[in-house]
């Protein structure tokens, strides 16, 4: 089982390759969309590299549950409701959602996802 440092290094390498950023820009607190300028198509690239690097399978919506964020059952007036938040917590046990829950605007989730969240996701997948 890879250590936290090993996971971080491989995640960092994947992000450097996929996003064309420098090593030192990829810190655990860096947000993928905000700080590292990742766009939606970059997530496809990142997922491919993580799958290859860690020999894991990442299903659509596993890292980023777009199906919840586009479901009228869970979203009202552009904000995720309590049922939706519970669903997100269930689907994203690796992510720190506290900031998002304070202001659960749909667009915020993607913008708040950090490198640390991604590392936690990989650790969660490796442990499964």
């Amino acid at each position: 089982m890879a250590s936290e440092d090993e996971i971080f290094e491989k995640v960092r390498d994947a992000l450097v390759e996929a996003l064309g950023v420098d090593d030192d820009e990829v810190t655990p607190e860096a947000t993928l969309q905000g700080d590292l300028d990742a766009e939606s198509i970059d997530f496809l690239d990142i997922v491919f590299r993580l799958e290859k690097s860690f020999d894991i399978k990442i299903e659509r919506g596993e890292l980023f549950p777009e199906d919840i964020l586009t479901n009228v059952e869970y979203v009202e007036d552009g904000k995720v409701n309590d049922t939706g938040i519970a669903k997100l917590r269930e689907r994203m046990p690796f992510a720190d959602l506290s900031k998002f829950e304070a202001e659960p605007v749909v667009q915020n989730l993607g913008q708040q996802l950090t490198v640390k969240d991604m590392c936690n996701f990989v650790a969660y997948k490796l442990a499964a």
Binding site: E17, A18, I41, D42, L44, D45, V47, F48, E51, K52, R60
Partner: protein
């Protein structure tokens, strides 16, 4: 200008790889502007050729039934200039295909000379995209025409070697399509 940047497939193996060719000729208008007096195939169109060759390879895995678009070009390298009279051979290989998209590696050669290499990411837009856009972005009959022009069903095979047959793919119009 018709947006065909491969002329024919010479090889097509479902879910695996394909080879397509494109002749560069003075009959192409843009060569007289790029550059004036020294025609060179623009590398942006070399990439487009690679994307078309790879895109149809990916699209076949979705039964040619959904919109597959080039989403990202990563790691494109060019090693030479391609001139009128030369023939580009695109070799594309599927690295991964998922339900939401695919990664394809491609090269472009002129004879034995490596001209370009690239990694391309395709996104599969699916039915949700039509619901969002409110209209169909392509008509199956246009795709069927294109597939016929580039000879996919003349050379295409499944991985077990059996020929790909046009009748095995939907490629049908829906009642709402205009004539």
């Amino acid at each position: 200008m018709r947006w065909f940047w491969i002329d024919r497939y010479t090889e097509f193996v479902s879910g695996s790889h394909a080879v397509a060719v494109k002749g560069v000729t003075l009959a192409e208008d843009h060569l007289h502007d790029h550059m004036a007096g020294y025609p060179i195939m623009p590398n942006s169109l070399v990439v487009e050729g690679m994307a078309q060759a790879g895109g149809l390879l990916v699209s076949e895995r979705y039964d040619f039934g959904e919109l597959v678009v080039l989403g990202k070009l990563a790691k494109a390298k060019f090693h030479s200039c391609v001139r009128n009279g030369e023939t580009l051979t695109y070799r594309v290989r599927v690295d991964t295909i998922r339900s939401d998209g695919a990664a394809v590696s491609g090269t472009a050669h002129v004879g034995d000379r490596l001209h370009a290499e690239a990694l391309l990411f395709f996104a599969r837009l699916g039915d949700a995209n039509e619901a969002l856009q409110g209209q169909r972005l392509f008509h199956p009959r246009h795709l069927r025409h294109w597939l016929s022009l580039v000879g996919i069903f003349e050379v295409g095979v499944h991985q077990d070697g059996t020929p790909m047959k046009e009748k095995d793919y939907p490629l049908t119009e829906c009642a709402a399509d205009p004539a």
